[in-house]
Symmetry: D2
Subunit: 413 residues, 4 copies
């Protein structure tokens, strides 16, 4: 815990959650649970969810008016790090993506009817949800390029489109789908978010995409989905028509912080595993792995980088709390690529320290190696964030690359 | 193909094999085959083996007196690169580890009876084999530390021990096991290699270890094995008693070259995938991924590094052909860590270029990302080879670290 | 300025100092001043020192009981970053190493007579001083190995020894020299610090060592020094006999923070130069350097790394303020290597962005490239700090490498 | 020496030159010669040139019809590596840039009169020359952007322009200047090369630019030059009008090989220094620097990378010999950035191994650190070559970025 950002609430919550995760979730990290379908472990985790509720730790992320603790983002970030000590932490505490983002959106922008019908059971953990945005046909680096449409017919939207990386769709009760409702508006005003129950005719889960060797199922899956003439009432609109990108941004800002804090938790976990191994593995009579400078180098560099990453993230979270996400967009870009790379480096070093065992599912490391490679890609690839950050900085120096690109596109057209 | 090392034989073989791999094996690279148990794809590959035989390309690695082509190591290296264009190449051509190494060993050191019974069907691809050396209890960096023993009783050896990373044991007809036969000899003269049919009582395949999310089976598995009072005739000894390490070294030298050439094939394949994607993926209207400097940087650096790696490996192979493996031990250490790192870098960059698709099993990349992380560990971790190389160089400068360490150990004892 | 650590004092001081540095010192950064002897620019800087005094900014680093502002280390760190915007900042404000460290030591540990005679004029900037510790014959990584001796004869010490990297000795009025006074004590209790006026017979400035192409002179020099039967009164002892290492540690802790903050200032300056160039340099008609992704990558990565570095350093400074330097030894090790490497990376990238101009003394960059390469070496090389940090961490995991090394050394002896 | 590329001529020459460099030039590497003006050491080197002539080693680079040995580029590359063991090697053997390139150009394209008057004494080492191409106002990455003009008036060209990095102009007898003679031709056909004696009225050496702390003089300088109404006869044209870029390319291809081979020589020299230090520097009683894994890592990685670099360069040289430079443009781009980075890494590691001594001019390392930072910039920056290489590769994959850029520029215009 970084004292600089500790509050009385984090001082209370963090040790309790840490203990819960260590005692209840870490023992579930067996090869069986780390390699099989998620539904296998989900059964066990659902039992643990009861313990979370009994411990009064349910709904950590909710605002006061949602009946929650009203943690600041900076406080929740510190909680999130501890949850991430186990790959099962966030799910067990019901603050896993994409549900956490959907809850936030719905709380702010859904109608009361929708809230009653979908948000309440979601908050209780009785149902799950998914978010349907990315399309295989278009590069994710430009979110305004969407092929999915929602055409208004009477009091309904009729939705057609093709999505993938609709994570956790398998078993979800509803999706929030991003679709073009206003094709003639300016690019950033074309899309809307619409809630689609997954049992609506035309909603088709094509497959759970096999990712890094593993299609999984349940919350652990990433689906390809087709929307074929899916008809839902207009009241299922979240926010107003054309607000899709605004809401997506609002969702992504804190979402990236959530990811970053999770990555720091993962880094710390792998760091701990690495140090344990280094301190206890004998290389030859009386000589331990940790006495080797190469290993010491891995440890020292990881320690410095993780500390740097945490300070960056918590500072950004604090600034979001104070000034809003749009004011610190540069910081968010910076942590997105910086922290993802730190994490993957630490995971990689830890594997190296474990040697042959490091690639087996007898340890947790391959889980992170496989499941977190995407961290440098999702929610904006490294390259996208670096470019965005640099352009924003250069604008202060008088070079407006965005304007230049727009002028050029206009010329070309 | 690098003209510097081309011979009339590689000029004949390489294009033919390349075409075979492209036409017969690449189409098998579906998510089904890349994520399921190996036995699924093995059925298909066994059909392809017939085509290999019909094409007169079976047994590429054999010496003339084994009835093969007698390719030099440098020639075989170039063949091996092309086989590695597909993850199924080496298996289909029956020159996959660990069988290739076992064939080589048995050809040189096994009795005629053993050859007839085991080597002949192995060369025909009728049976498979495995190699049982690494033990979970001891660090692989020091191969002289072995807990497995083979005690002579009459005309038998009685073997007891615990091994892992006995790759491909699942379904293999026999193992060659490394066991201590002469506990009182000097550390490097204690162990022997003994052939153990897997149906011998006491040979126990504990499990196929789950590796990077996947236990697989058949040739694609890596087993944990126990030897409990396994009794085999003394005639099953490969080479003489106490020759275990000498043979292991003899096996590892070319073995590392084989790995390195395979890694170059993998690098080229991923490079090709990366370039295809960069040239064809549209980012926005009329702008292709390959026009971005970040992607160009990935491509340019990969190109330079792969070329460097290939030259290093083929030079080393050629030097082994001319001077023997022990004369170029430094070169072998250098390529072991250099090439493994180049490959993993290229794989990683290719994934990044594919974006979200890059982590799905719709492309080949995650296969390599998962299955080749071990390259920096097996057959000597990066750190072990760097140390060995540096020490050997420093010895030429008058600093004999090995002698110093030995003196120190003596002092301590 | 990082709001997290801002205080009313830094909010007042930092902008004023920034303006002073920008207006008075940056214009002096001409090739003439950047490549000639330091004495040339020193004349100009001495005039600026008057302006500093007039502006009430003299003596920033002093504690309240020294008549200063009593800035915390964390506050002074923020000031120091701004001073480092110019290579002439610290000198002009009289808080340059090694004088700042000597002042601190003398304030705490020198006799009143010594203070009157040497500390007072030093604080006024009327004289300069140097610190004589490192010896060419012994590795700096082990500071307890010293060849210089101070033998007590009556009321004098007679000092003999050979030192180098006695920075700024040229023109200094006195040196504080580290010498063995108690050869039979435990290694860390053998040495003492003694003040030696440079006009004492036997004090011999052998040469200003040419460093990175430049011997320079005056404050900008790094001398090799011999002490041949140098005789000084025992009252010149700073602190008690045998306290040399304790005092050196006390000096080095904040000293490393000072360096780190300076490095961040340097990083920011080079970052600013890089961005200016990127925003204004035309590559071809209408296309600016900053539109290239490679350059954007340099900018984005630098921004993230510098921010990380600053947070790490200020956190450490704050912890030193609260808990003392010895409590955060690990953090100090971490920032020492982390920040030095960030700085050198940023300098290198900025040079690359400037192209051919980047290696000319028409810009400031080569100054830092040459003069700061030592940052990864002095006050503990990267390797030393990485090892120290890792060992300290591993000790918490039960592996006491220090104890093992000591046991081993004992065995050997 | 890499046996793969050895010929009877390199087997004869390389050891003789190595011995000469070691015995005659290495002793001159004193701080005095490494930091002062080049004219100081030039006097000593001119004496050594006599010894070179006596040894029959003068004019190594010349073709047979120039009266030389007619070494292939691949052979000369191996010679060049050995010359680069000392920073004074190439100058002493009169095959230093820019004279070597000028000799080559003039031999092929100058009139007989020009050859007699300028080439002959240049080959004898009686005079020196320079090459005037880069202009401070235009980015070097696009060589077709030139401000210097040569207007024909009667039988003269009248030249006006502003150049920098006209290396070695100080004391040179003539410059070959790149100037626009045909402003209305296609961009690549506008410029010509013209020989300008430096005593022509209007030729003005503005200054020797201070580079990395050092303006130096004589061959060691890099001048800023102005051409103010400089009038030379049309017979001073080298090649035809408008052939400037063709000749520049012809010059740069082998020029880059020459640089690369020199860089390998530098890398080997620094590697040797690093190993010597590691093997002999005591850290504490009985423990040598080279026993530390960090240092072993530096040595092992450097060894692998230098070997890779050499193989890449010699292969490229051989391919240029066989197929011409334009056929292996990609390889040339690859080695340009690959080898420069290897060299600078090795230099940096060697400095780190030397510790404090590593930044002093008591060792050769800072010379290379300062003088070779430019290697990643001159003759095409890393970024330029990476882009060029990637674009060329992507063209084979169907993406013609050059054509697209041209289309775009046309659209814009």
């Amino acid at each position: 815990m970084e004292p600089l950002f500790a509050t009385s609430r984090t001082e209370d919550l963090v040790p309790r959650i840490r203990e819960f995760v260590q005692n209840e979730l870490v023992p579930l990290e067996t090869a069986e649970h780390l390699t099989g379908n998620f539904s296998v472990v989900a059964k066990r985790l659902d039992e643990k969810r009861e313990l979370v509720k009994q411990a009064g730790l349910w709904g950590l992320q909710h605002s006061v008016d949602e009946g929650g603790l009203g943690l600041t983002l900076c406080e929740f970030g510190q909680v999130s790090e501890v949850l991430a000590w186990s790959p099962f932490g966030h799910y067990t505490f019901n603050c896993q993506a994409p549900d956490i983002g959907n809850m936030e959106l719905m709380h702010k922008y859904a109608s009361d009817a929708i809230k009653r019908q979908y948000l309440e059971p979601l908050k209780e953990g009785h149902i799950r949800s998914c978010f349907s945005m990315t399309e295989p046909e278009f590069a994710g680096s430009n979110p305004t390029r969407l092929g999915t449409t929602a055409v208004r017919e009477g009091n309904d939207y009729v939705i057609n489109g093709h999505k993938w990386f609709t994570s956790s769709a398998d078993g979800a009760s509803f999706a929030i789908v991003m679709a073009v409702t206003n094709p003639d508006a300016a690019p950033h005003r074309r899309a809307s978010m619409i809630l689609v129950p997954t049992d609506t005719p035309g909603f088709q889960l094509v497959r759970n995409i096999s990712i890094m060797g593993d299609a999984s199922d349940h919350w652990g899956s990433h689906a390809e989905v087709r929307y074929d003439d899916v008809r839902v009432p207009v009241g299922n609109l979240i926010g107003g028509e054309g607000m899709g990108f605004v809401l997506a941004q609002e969702r992504l800002g804190p979402g990236r912080i959530h990811h970053c804090m999770r990555w720091i938790g993962i880094s710390e976990r792998c760091f701990d595993l690495m140090c344990r191994r280094a301190a206890t593995r004998e290389l030859e009579d009386g000589v331990m792995l940790g006495e080797k400078q190469f290993v010491q180098g891995f440890i020292a560099e990881s320690r410095a980088e993780i500390d740097a990453a945490r300070l960056m993230v918590l500072r950004t979270a604090r600034n979001i709390d104070q000034f809003g996400a749009s004011a610190v967009r540069n910081e968010i870009s910076a942590i997105k690529f910086f922290v993802a790379n730190v994490m993957l480096q630490v995971v990689d070093r830890a594997i190296q320290v474990y040697g042959a065992m490091g690639i087996t599912d007898d340890v947790l490391l391959p889980w992170y190696y496989r499941h977190e490679r995407g961290a440098r890609i999702y929610d904006g690839a490294d390259e996208v964030h670096k470019t965005a950050l640099a352009r924003s900085i250069l604008k202060e120096y008088g070079l407006d690359t965005k304007k230049k690109a727009a002028d050029l596109a206009a010329t070309r057209a």
